[in-house]
Symmetry: C2
Subunit: 326 residues, 2 copies
């Protein structure tokens, strides 16, 4: 393995000159040429540890995600990764398996790894989160949840919810079942629902039944298989595509037809909503864009530039086969 010293000797210059050359400092044309050649010949690559030890920072960006097997996560991950790689940064992915405590732990763990910045796909932002962000002194960019504690990029949840609510109304449904998630999840559990409910509840003659399920497909499916037996709503408005999928499967199991007997819709725009038949009405969120903006803005931040505290991304309402006029 070549070191900067070896290169310096081969080139007949001091290692500081080589360092300057490597970091874009001014070197004479002649020096540059020799160095160009020698570095190519020797296939020299700088030792990242020595660099990082010196500058007390790495080219690593940490990203904390709740789970790996989620469409949303994957989309974001992919676009963040691509964007970062183009800028010569490396993504360090940390999966918390939906464990909120581990989100906080990993904030500290990543700071120990001296990542330059952190992207956090939080499910909630607790006091412990804020404390950690404060303490580590590394820029953190929040994705999917609002919080005044730091920079955040979110989806327009209320807007999306309202679009779906209007859709159900337009199709003439009067009996609607809303399958939501825990209100601890501010974005999905509170805002998305609020968007839906504001539209529905202000309309006379609409009955909305609410139920809370969780993000796990199997549990939700098992629950709905029983629960739906006693229900006669004609529209099941689900807070996520996965819930919609479970509701769909449960409905089928109970001998009902979608969308003839019951309309079903989700949120998220997961690709699977197109794979199933009937395809599922949903709102597609701008995951790819979210990832790209996150990466770009974080890097800007690292360069000392100003970036907006909060960015909200609009989704795209996509009516498909699973919802139908009553």
């Amino acid at each position: 393995m070549m070191t900067i010293n070896d290169i310096a000797k081969l080139a007949g210059v001091a290692k500081s000159t080589v360092s300057r050359y490597l970091n874009g400092g001014s070197v004479s044309k002649k020096t540059k040429e020799t160095l160009d050649r020698i570095i190519k010949e020797t296939e020299y690559v700088p030792n990242t540890f020595a660099q990082s030890l010196k500058v007390k920072q790495s080219n690593l960006i940490g990203i904390i995600i709740p789970r790996l097997n989620s469409y949303a996560t994957n989309e974001i991950l992919q676009s963040v990764d691509r964007c970062l790689r183009e800028r010569n940064y490396q993504l360090l992915i940390v999966n918390t398996d939906q464990d909120v405590d581990r989100e906080v732990e990993n904030l500290y763990a990543l700071s120990r790894q001296k990542v330059a910045g952190i992207i956090l796909l939080a499910t909630a932002v607790t006091k412990a989160h804020k404390e950690a962000m404060d303490k580590i002194g590394i820029p953190v960019l929040l994705l999917g949840q609002r919080s005044d504690a730091t920079y955040a990029i979110v989806h327009e949840e209320e807007e999306a919810g309202a679009a779906m609510g209007r859709h159900a109304l337009k199709l003439g449904h009067k009996k609607i079942l809303y399958l939501g998630v825990t209100e601890k999840d501010e974005s999905v559990g509170v805002l998305r629902k609020k968007g839906v409910m504001d539209v529905l509840k202000n309309t006379v003659g609409i009955k909305v039944q609410e139920e809370e399920v969780d993000f796990n497909f199997d549990r939700t499916f098992q629950f709905l298989k029983e629960y739906l037996k006693g229900r006669d709503e004609t529209y099941i408005l689900c807070a996520t595509d996965n819930i919609a999928l479970a509701a769909y499967k449960a409905s089928i199991t109970l001998g009902r037809t979608v969308p003839e007997d019951v309309s079903i819709s989700g949120f998220g725009g997961y690709s699977i909503t197109d794979l199933v038949t009937p395809s599922i009405t949903t709102v597609r969120y701008a995951y790819k864009e979210m990832g790209r903006i996150a990466a770009e803005n974080l890097l800007r931040l690292l360069q000392g530039e100003e970036i907006p505290k909060k960015i909200a991304l609009s989704g795209e309402f996509l009516p498909k086969e699973s919802t139908k006029m009553l």
Copy 2:
């Protein structure tokens, strides 16, 4: 930020003593106690760069994956990650977006990052791969493809293929369409198919039509929507679950019913095969176990232990609703 020097001064010992303490060397009980206390009080954490710079190795394990949005990849990633974290190693995930050249590039890139070992989910093992593995001098563990170039953990592809072939026969099908993938992919393209074909071709009166499609859902679906118009096979034996899904969707689109008009099966055991209706007959591969073994064996290798050159994992044949007696 505390350094080992600060701690040493506070404790009134030499920094080498602190270092020994940290690395499990022998220290007097008294020294240990003071150090325990001081380190807790100061929240001291060693600088990983300085450590790595010294020992010329990191606690990072690199994993190169073809894509992020794949069920198989996610399962493996999750279990590798979990296993590694328990052992205090960090996973560095590198996504190549199915670009074979980037697999090789990243072998080099990871070696520059001084990862301790590399897990490679290769789609193929080329000369360039072998050369890179040779050159970097870091243990590489191959997943999903056999190669005598290094250690490998694979699925029993032929066995799985044979099981599916026998299933189709047992159901009385005579006209079978096999939808495979490129033979560059030794595991899926060659072996899996061989398992199927060996069973089918040796049985008289069976006609097998072969066609090659790719891993992309949309392209495959578009292709099949046309292609299947002219076909009258009663069993479509697909090389992957995703292809099965595309075949299913294409069949539905052409007004055929699954499994009444045509039986369809896949390979992989993706969770989605259960989400759709009818659920899809498949072979579930042992992804989770593959990940765990990969992580454990790689760490063993790093400790200088011997590990088997090749491990083959059996899948589990899962008949479901999408295939039916003719």
